[in-house]
């Protein structure tokens, strides 16, 4: 399973390296969300500084939807999914591989978003380990839940409008806990932030396990 995961992750990442869709489309989109939310909140510097962690996570969540759609689209060519299924690769491995590839892209995206809010909203991360921990845990959860729901909506013609509707409510706890954790990290208040990691850890573990177990049956059913 692990070997297959590495194989699939490598394939997805290599395709991305050639096509550079995440780089040219998802990253600018994320920055765009930052700008648009700033417009929504207004030019008051202190409001923006206060809203910065929430803006970071909303931008991340919307971009995750795009990254998932891209991850699914890579295999939407004629017979590609069937080919993958018939190739004998362990479906759990496919799930882990795709989730790993998406996760890596999300991590890089978070670096860009972090730079974005630091630059645009004039904030600084004071408790670095907290921010990092929250981001890493959240990324695992986002990637796993995302790839799972991506598979759920994969064959459908209404995939592009259905996926956001399905997956965003599911990802809401990550948004909640992530913003709170980052707010604590930006304020320098580690104590209040740590409790929010208690949501992110189970979320990540649950969707990792559920994904490994359900991805295969999901592919068979599609």
């Amino acid at each position: 399973m692990w070997h297959d995961a590495v194989l699939v992750a490598g394939k997805d990442l290599r395709i991305e390296a050639r096509a550079r869709v995440a780089l040219w489309q998802v990253v600018p989109f994320a920055v765009l969300v930052l700008v648009l939310l700033a417009f929504a909140i207004g030019p008051n510097q202190s409001s923006l500084r206060h809203a910065a962690p929430g803006i970071f996570w909303v931008a991340l969540l919307f971009s995750t939807v795009l990254a998932i759609q891209r991850s699914v689209a890579v295999e939407s060519g004629e017979g590609t999914r069937d080919g993958l299924r018939l190739s004998g690769i362990d479906p759990a491995g496919i799930f882990l591989g795709k989730a790993a590839a998406v996760g890596l892209q999300l991590l890089l995206l978070q670096v860009v978003l972090w730079a974005g809010i630091t630059f645009l909203f004039d904030v600084r991360v004071h408790v670095v380990w907290l921010a990092l921990a929250a981001s890493l845990l959240a990324t695992v959860g986002l990637a796993c839940a995302g790839v799972l729901y991506g598979a759920l909506s994969a064959g459908l013609r209404v995939r592009d409008t259905l996926l956001p509707l399905l997956v965003l409510p599911v990802l809401a706890p990550v948004l909640l806990a992530g913003s709170k954790a980052w707010q604590a990290a930006l304020d320098g208040n580690a104590a209040s932030g740590t409790q929010w990691l208690k949501i992110l850890v189970p979320f990540a573990v649950i969707y990792l396990v559920v994904g490994v177990v359900l991805y295969g049956p999901l592919q068979e059913a599609a």
Binding site: Q69, A73, S76, G77, R159
Partner: protein, 264 residues
């Protein structure tokens, strides 16, 4: 068009490049060493020898070429892939200059306002322009018949040109309603001595010349890329491009044909 005609470079073009570099060297020399510090802004004013010039290129020259080229392409009388390629070249060069506008602007703003970024109309519209230009460049990379791609990109460029003034106006309004007054133009807070004014002007000339050079080289790259696309290499390239599905996904629409399927 043979390889020879495509590779040949007009001599005036190299001259423009050399003049641009020379003007740039003089601007730097004058700007950093010869001119006196400003009585209000001190040495920070030296950034104003390059920042407004870069911004002018990014907003006005690029806008002129991209919008003008797109219009000329769409107009049947003057339709020619030359205009499309010129517009596309200017958008890429424009994105570089827009990014530099933001960087030099922030570096100037940081010591003055204490923050790296402020949501004033100019900076914000330039930021949005950069994002729109990245969108255009992403659109351009989608494989398609050159004429279709040209039409698509021309419309995109015109929409961007129309949009930026609207954005600028709205952000300006958004800001002034909040601040209750106009944002003081930092450029006017300079008491310019003659050497400063000349350096300022020289900076404009230098960056404008360099813009023409960049535009030319990027245009040549565009022409060469299209030429290669028409030939045998197209086969292996379209294999690579078939992996380049856009976000809407191939499931929702028929797969686009590889490049070069139209008449050369």
């Amino acid at each position: 068009m043979s390889a020879q005609t495509m590779i040949r470079r007009p001599s005036w073009f190299t001259v423009v490049g050399v003049l641009g570099v020379v003007a740039m060297a003089f601007t730097v020399w004058l700007g950093l060493w010869i001119t006196p510090p400003d009585q209000f802004q001190g040495n920070l004013a030296r950034l104003l020898y390059i920042h407004p010039a870069i911004a002018t290129v990014a907003l006005y020259w690029v806008g002129l070429v991209a919008a003008g080229g797109s219009l000329l392409y769409l107009w049947p009388r003057t339709r020619s892939l030359f205009w499309d390629r010129l517009a596309a070249a200017s958008v890429e060069v424009g994105a570089v200059f827009a990014a530099l506008t933001l960087v030099t602007g922030s570096l100037w703003g940081r010591p003055v306002w204490g923050v790296w970024w402020t949501w004033d109309a100019r900076l914000t519209s330039t930021a949005l322009l950069l994002l729109l230009e990245i969108g255009y460049l992403a659109l351009r990379r989608v494989p398609a018949d050159p004429a279709i791609r040209a039409r698509r990109c021309a419309v995109a460029a015109l929409l961007i040109a129309i949009d930026i003034p609207i954005v600028h106006f709205s952000v300006d309004w958004w800001n002034t309603l909040h601040q209750g007054g106009t944002f003081i133009d930092p450029g006017f807070q300079i008491h310019a001595s003659p050497s400063m004014s000349w350096t300022f002007l020289l900076g404009f000339v230098a960056f404008s010349l360099l813009f023409v050079w960049f535009l030319g080289v990027r245009y040549q790259v565009e022409v060469l890329q299209d030429a290669i696309g028409d030939q045998e290499l197209e086969v292996s390239l379209s294999e690579r491009w078939s992996e380049d599905t856009d976000l809407v996904g191939a499931a929702a629409s028929a797969p686009t044909p590889g490049p070069g399927t139209g008449a050369p």
